[in-house]
C-alpha cells in the first residue's frame, strides 16, 4: 500500500508563496488529475511530494513515514517532471537502465514495447530528440517504472493529438494491469476528465477542492435563456444559490450556478457543468461578477 499524506504544506520563494497551507491525502491506486492555472503551484506541489524540493513548512508522509531523507519512502515515488533529470548525452535506452537501477520493479520489456509503439529510437541521445519525443521518452520511463506512486507533470506538453490519445490509453491499460497511484497535472482537462477518478484543484497557491470528478460534474449547472426569464428564475432561487459566472450576449443571458436546478425552469435551457467549465468558474479571478 502507498498512501501519501500532506499536512499544512507551505512553500515560499522569497516573498512569494507558491503553496499555502495545503493538506490532502492521496489514496492508494487512484488516478488523480491535478488542475490549476499557470503559476498556481502544481509543479511545486509535485516537486515537494517527490522529494525534489523541500517545503518551507508542513509535512509529507508516505505510509506514515516522513518523506524527507527517507530512501524507503522516496523509492515508492516516481516523478516525471518538466525538466530532464538525466545527462542530455545519455542514450534513451541508458536512461531507462539508469532509472531501473533505482526502481527494482522497473519493467524494461514494457518500456521497449512502448518505445516501439511510439516510434521512439532508443539508440538516440536524449538531447537529439525532438520536443515531443523527449516527452515520450519521459512518459515511457514513468509508465514502466513500477513505483506504486507516479507523478506526471504536464505529460502531454508538446505531444500531438495521436500521441496524447496513445498516452491516455497507455495510462488506463497500465493502471488496470498494475494498479498504482497516478497524479497527472494537465491543462487539457476535457481530454483527461473521463479517466481521472478524482480532481485536485489548486488556485493561487491554495487547495480549493479535492473530489470525485463524477461529483464535481454534478456540482453545478448552466441556465440560459431570455435575460428576463433567467433573472426571474434567479430571483425565484432567492439568495441561497452561488452564481459562478454570468454572460450576456444581446438579450440572451447565460448563468452558471452551483447546486441543482430548482423550481420552474420552463423556457430555459439547463445544462450540467463539465469538469472543465466548473474548473474555469472556480479558478476565475472575477467569481460571480458581471
Amino acid at each position: 500500500m502507498s498512501e501519501i499524506k500532506v499536512s499544512k504544506l507551505c512553500k515560499n520563494f522569497g516573498k512569494n508563496s507558491a503553496l499555502t497551507d495545503v493538506s490532502l491525502t492521496l489514496r492508494e491506486n487512484c488516478i488523480y488529475g491535478l488542475l490549476g492555472r499557470n503559476g498556481a503551484g502544481k509543479s511545486t506541489l509535485l516537486n515537494i511530494l517527490s522529494g525534489r524540493m523541500f517545503p518551507t513548512s508542513g509535512e509529507v508522509t508516505v505510509d506514515g513515514e516522513p518523506l524527507t531523507g527517507n530512501d524507503n519512502a522516496l523509492g515508492k515515488i516516481f516523478m516525471m517532471g518538466e525538466q530532464l533529470v538525466f545527462i542530455p548525452s545519455l542514450k534513451v535506452k541508458k536512461m531507462f537502465e539508469v532509472t531501473a537501477d533505482f526502481y527494482p520493479d522497473y519493467d524494461m520489456e514494457y518500456a521497449m514495447k512502448l518505445a516501439g509503439n511510439y516510434g521512439l529510437d532508443c539508440k538516440k541521445h536524449i538531447h537529439k530528440l525532438s520536443t515531443g519525443y523527449k516527452t515520450i521518452a519521459k512518459i515511457i520511463n514513468a509508465l514502466a517504472c513500477g513505483a506504486p506512486v507516479v507523478f506526471f507533470d504536464e505529460p502531454v506538453l508538446g505531444l500531438d493529438a495521436n500521441h496524447r490519445d496513445m498516452f491516455y490509453r497507455n495510462v488506463i491499460e497500465r493502471y488496470t494491469e498494475h494498479p498504482a497511484t497516478y497524479v497527472i497535472s494537465t491543462h487539457l482537462i476535457e481530454e483527461a476528465s473521463s479517466f481521472i477518478e478524482r480532481a485536485i484543484i489548486i488556485r493561487e497557491s491554495k487547495l480549493i477542492m479535492e473530489e470525485d470528478t463524477e461529483i464535481i460534474r454534478g456540482m453545478g449547472y448552466t441556465v440560459s435563456g431570455k435575460a428576463g426569464d433567467v433573472d426571474s428564475y434567479l430571483s425565484s432561487l432567492g439568495g441561497s444559490s452561488e452564481i459562478l459566472r454570468t454572460e450576456v450576449i444581446g438579450g440572451l443571458k447565460t448563468v452558471s450556478i452551483k447546486g441543482q436546478p430548482a423550481g420552474n425552469t420552463q423556457g430555459l435551457e439547463i445544462t450540467p457543468l463539465s469538469l472543465q467549465n466548473m474548473f474555469v468558474c472556480l479558478t476565475n479571478e472575477n467569481i460571480g461578477k458581471e
Binding site: 488506463i172 491499460e173 476535457e190 473521463s194 463524477e214 460534474r217 463539465s274
Partner: protein, 126 residues
C-alpha cells in the same frame, strides 16, 4: 459513440447505455461475452472504476451476468427487457416532448398524425 463525455449523463450511465445499445442491435448477442471493463475503459478512455460501475448497474438489472473466470455475458431475455424499458423511456422522452412542442407551435393532433404517416411513407419508399 466515440467519446463518452459529451452527454449530460454520468459516464457510468453512458457506459451502461452503450452496452445496452449493442445488445439491442445484437452486436452483443445473448449468451455471448461482452468486452471486459478493461477493454471498455481503454477504448473509450474512461476510468476503470467508472466502467465497472456501469457494468455493475446492468448486472443488478440482470441484463448481464458474470461467468467466473470467463467474463461478463449477456443474459437470456436481456434484449426484450431492455426494449420494454426503452419503450417507456421513448414515450416519456420523445412523445411527451413532441406533444408539448406541437402545442406550442399550434400543430393539431391531425397534423401530427399526417406528419408521422408521411415520415413512415418516406422511410418505406427508400
Amino acid at each position: 459513440m466515440t467519446t463518452l463525455t459529451e452527454s449530460d449523463k454520468p459516464i457510468y450511465v453512458q457506459t451502461a447505455d452503450w452496452i445496452e445499445d449493442n445488445i439491442l442491435s445484437e452486436a452483443f448477442g445473448e449468451e455471448t461475452r461482452i468486452p471486459s471493463t478493461t477493454e471498455i475503459s481503454v477504448q473509450y478512455k474512461i476510468n476503470p472504476a467508472t466502467a465497472l460501475k456501469g457494468v455493475q448497474m446492468l448486472v443488478d438489472k440482470n441484463i448481464i451476468y458474470k461467468k467466473r473466470g470467463l467474463g461478463m455475458f449477456v443474459a437470456k431475455g436481456a434484449k426484450e427487457k431492455i426494449r420494454e424499458t426503452r419503450k417507456q423511456e421513448f414515450f416519456d422522452k420523445y412523445i411527451t416532448a413532441l406533444i408539448s412542442e406541437a402545442q406550442m407551435l399550434g400543430i393539431s393532433r391531425e397534423e401530427i398524425r399526417q406528419m408521422i404517416d408521411k415520415c413512415f411513407k418516406e422511410g418505406d419508399d427508400k
